[in-house]
């Protein structure tokens, strides 16, 4: 796809009939990719749910070390960022470039806030000796359950993979924001923003399930 367009048609690749054909195809491709993200993260959820059911008290002990207020804040931040992401696309669709840029910038900011909160949570846990897996010493943390390391192994894997996706999302949003500033998008062509938006919403979606599962149900 072209980086600058003077005519509407120049962004349409030669094997597509028209702009709409290309857009619909791109969107289907993105949804297929989102299906793979659901299945990938889903595997982690399956493992978590199974072991939670086998070791309910150990999981409760693990969850008691999590601060639900931080998780709650992060949930609100991500939901707000989904709103600003959707609005970013909306403003491009109605030709309001400047508002789109502001919305996208806000989305990135929300992502950054999320990651800062995450960083604070992680460092606090490390400070307490709550490391993943075999690095968690039950004596050091005064654990009742000897395999508490499993809980934190899962915690760091799930939030770590999610956090990685937040960072990737922030990078992608930065990319489309720069292109928006350069005027590459208009109501006729905004496919990359749409795609990045769908990715970002999936990141929010996963957190919507992660928050209660990790912080509340323990």
């Amino acid at each position: 796809m072209s980086t600058g367009n003077t005519t509407h048609a120049s962004h349409v690749a030669h094997h597509f009939r028209d702009s709409e054909h290309q857009f619909d195809s791109a969107k289907q491709g993105i949804w297929l990719f989102m299906a793979t993200e659901i299945l990938m993260f889903g595997g982690l959820f399956v493992a978590y749910i199974i072991f939670h059911a086998i070791y309910p008290e150990m999981f409760a002990e693990g969850a008691s070390h999590l601060d639900w207020k931080m998780g709650f804040l992060n949930t609100l931040v991500l939901i707000f960022s989904s709103l600003t992401m959707a609005l970013g696309i909306h403003f491009i669709q109605v030709g309001q470039q400047k508002k789109a840029v502001v919305s996208l910038a806000l989305t990135i900011l929300c992502g950054a806030i999320f990651m800062v909160v995450k960083y604070l949570e992680y460092t606090h846990k490390f400070h307490l000796g709550l490391f993943p897996g075999r690095f968690l010493n039950p004596e050091v943390v005064h654990a009742t359950h000897q395999n508490l390391g499993m809980y934190f192994g899962l915690y760091f894997c799930m939030t770590g993979l999610h956090g990685t996706h937040v960072l990737i999302g922030m990078g992608l949003i930065t990319w489309v924001m720069i292109k928006t500033i350069k005027g590459d998008f208009n109501p006729e062509y905004f496919t990359p923003v749409e795609g990045v938006g769908i990715f970002w919403h999936i990141v929010d979606l996963i957190w919507i399930f992660l928050f209660p599962l990790l912080y509340l149900v323990g």
Partner: protein, 531 residues
């Protein structure tokens, strides 16, 4: 790269753009197919050499020239390379990339840049996998079962991460093919007029997209287990090694259908073309591909009958596994019905197709035998299983791949090959294959375990026979390499339609032009109108 070509200028997709850079940056699905071919054939050579070494060691009991540890490594690389770097990518990435767009009357796949990216991702993953040969060769078997994969001091993390990367490539290819089939069919090309090869690739693509992500998370969890001791698969921390197997086979069972479905698609093409007859039961064959793909998700536990999974789960998996024989049999009977009263010609591509039918029948039926839980309890981890899956993967997929190469070589490169030599190559491969693997059914029934470096003297003679067979197969494949090389350099110019077949690729020049079609075709009939 906006040049439009006209056929009279003799420019085709090979000659139009020159230089290595034009190949490495090409967005042309045909060139990308050839890039994959170069890589996959190289890995096939490597995996094949591993097989020859393995069989050489097993020629007689006791240590011959490999130590037990080295044997485990050779065995692991044979499996891992063949599975992840040859058979899973093989047909879709090479022949699928080349012919899927042409078969539906399109200029390219839906996302050409993603297609090229898929190749680069595959190369990065596969090179990373090969790099472990120079660091610390893994010895876990290609299935990486815990807890051994957590304890062995070899380069498991690197290899598993390499497989993760290659899985990404597989997902992106599948995604690309699904959107291509949905969105880029030429006018008049309804879903019931697409060639059966396309139905096969489409079903495969669905598997690639739905199953591979679970492999991805399994491998990431395995890395986390090794690096941090997370505990989900490690019994020392209260984890469950059988859960690893569940997660692993949730992907790996559909993966074997990723391996076989495209092969069956090729066989449908060959049977129709070389019987010069409308394929019998087009709709049944098409939907049986979808059916196989769907059922394949429900049967993974048949790899785990003796793992410690519950008996109820075992019974469920046993029953469901037998179901998958139904759509598979539908294909076999429809192919047979196509042959009946057809004008059958026994040219080399057809020989491979017929060879497929014979060998896959044996492989498939022995799969049903193994599906019976009470029987599998005895056969699990014996050479019976090894013979079964080689019959379907080599006797099946590889035969179909060879048939596809012979069938489509004239189209891809514009040259004809030596037919007599091709038939000799087929004979060597077919006979060699049976000599190698049929004795292994017997060995398995006699109780010889798989993945073992040594065996009792009672198994000696059959092992020796099997090894001799491996030399026959190897010579058959090397002969094919020679045949293709000779044809590429000195072969007679191929016409547009040397086989008289009816699918779209035979209506365009050999080799095709860059954009496949001068004018977008308008489809008015099905793909096998041989009347």
């Amino acid at each position: 790269m906006a040049a439009t070509t006209n056929a009279s200028s003799d420019l085709n997709y090979i000659t139009e753009f020159k230089g290595i850079k034009s190949w490495l940056t090409s967005l042309d699905h045909k060139r990308i197919g050839l890039l994959y071919m170069m890589a996959v054939l190289t890995y096939f050579l490597f995996g094949g050499i591993m097989a020859l070494l393995l069989r050489l060691e097993l020629f007689s009991p006791g240590a011959n020239f490999l130590s037990a540890d080295q044997y485990n490594q050779v065995m692991t690389y044979h499996g891992a390379v063949m599975v992840f770097m040859v058979i899973i990518p093989g047909i879709p990435a090479i022949l699928g990339n080349f012919f899927l767009p042409i078969h539906i009357g399109a200029k390219d796949v839906a996302f050409p840049r993603l297609n090229l990216a898929s190749w680069y991702i595959f190369m990065i993953g596969s090179i990373l996998a090969v790099s472990t040969l120079f660091t610390s060769k893994i010895d876990t078997g290609w299935t990486f079962y815990t807890p051994y994969s957590l304890k062995t001091s070899t380069a498991v993390i690197t290899m598993v991460f390499a497989a993760f990367i290659m899985g990404m490539s597989s997902i992106l290819t599948g995604l690309n093919f699904i959107v291509t089939v949905h969105k880029l069919r030429a006018p008049g090309m309804t879903m019931h007029r697409i060639p059966l090869f396309v139905w096969a690739l489409y079903s495969t693509a669905i598997l690639q997209v739905l199953a591979t992500p679970v492999l991805a998370i399994t491998l990431l969890l395995l890395i986390a287990e090794r690096a941090f001791g997370v505990g989900v698969f490690n019994p020392e921390l209260g984890g469950d090694p059988v859960l690893f197997q569940h997660f692993f086979w949730f992907y790996s069972h559909p993966a074997v259908y990723i391996m076989i479905l495209p092969a069956m698609g090729i066989v449908s093409e060959l049977i129709a073309a070389f019987s010069r007859k409308v394929i019998f039961g087009y709709t049944a064959i098409a939907y049986s591909s979808i059916g196989i793909a769907a059922v394949s998700f429900f049967v993974w536990g048949h790899h785990m009958f003796v793992s410690g999974q519950s008996e109820i789960a075992g019974v469920l998996f046993s029953f469901l596994t037998m179901l998958v024989g139904v759509p598979t049999a539908i294909k076999m009977f429809n192919w047979l019905a196509t042959l009946y009263k057809g004008s059958v010609s026994f040219q080399s591509p057809m020989l491979f197709a017929l060879g497929f039918m014979f060998l896959f029948a044996i492989g498939g039926v022995t799969g049903i035998i193994l599906a019976v839980m009470g029987v599998d309890v005895h056969f699990h981890d014996t050479y019976f299983v090894v013979a079964h899956f080689h019959y379907v993967m080599v006797g099946g997929t590889l035969m179909a791949l060879m048939g596809g190469f012979y069938y489509w070589f004239p189209k891809m490169f514009g040259k004809m090959f030596n037919e007599s030599l091709a038939q000799i190559s087929f004979a060597l491969i077919f006979i060699g294959f049976n000599v190698t693997f049929f004795p292994q059914f017997i060995l398995g029934s006699m109780g010889m375990p798989r993945r073992y470096f040594d065996y009792i003297p009672a198994y000696h003679s059959l092992n020796s026979i099997s090894t001799v067979g491996s030399w026959l197969i190897a010579s058959g494949f090397f002969l094919s390499v020679y045949i293709f090389w000779q044809a590429f350099c000195h072969g007679a110019k191929a016409p547009a339609n040397p086989w008289g077949a009816k699918t779209l690729e035979w209506q365009i020049p050999s080799p095709p032009i860059h954009t496949n079609f001068e004018v977008e075709p308008i489809i008015k009939a099905g793909p096998y109108e041989y009347r």
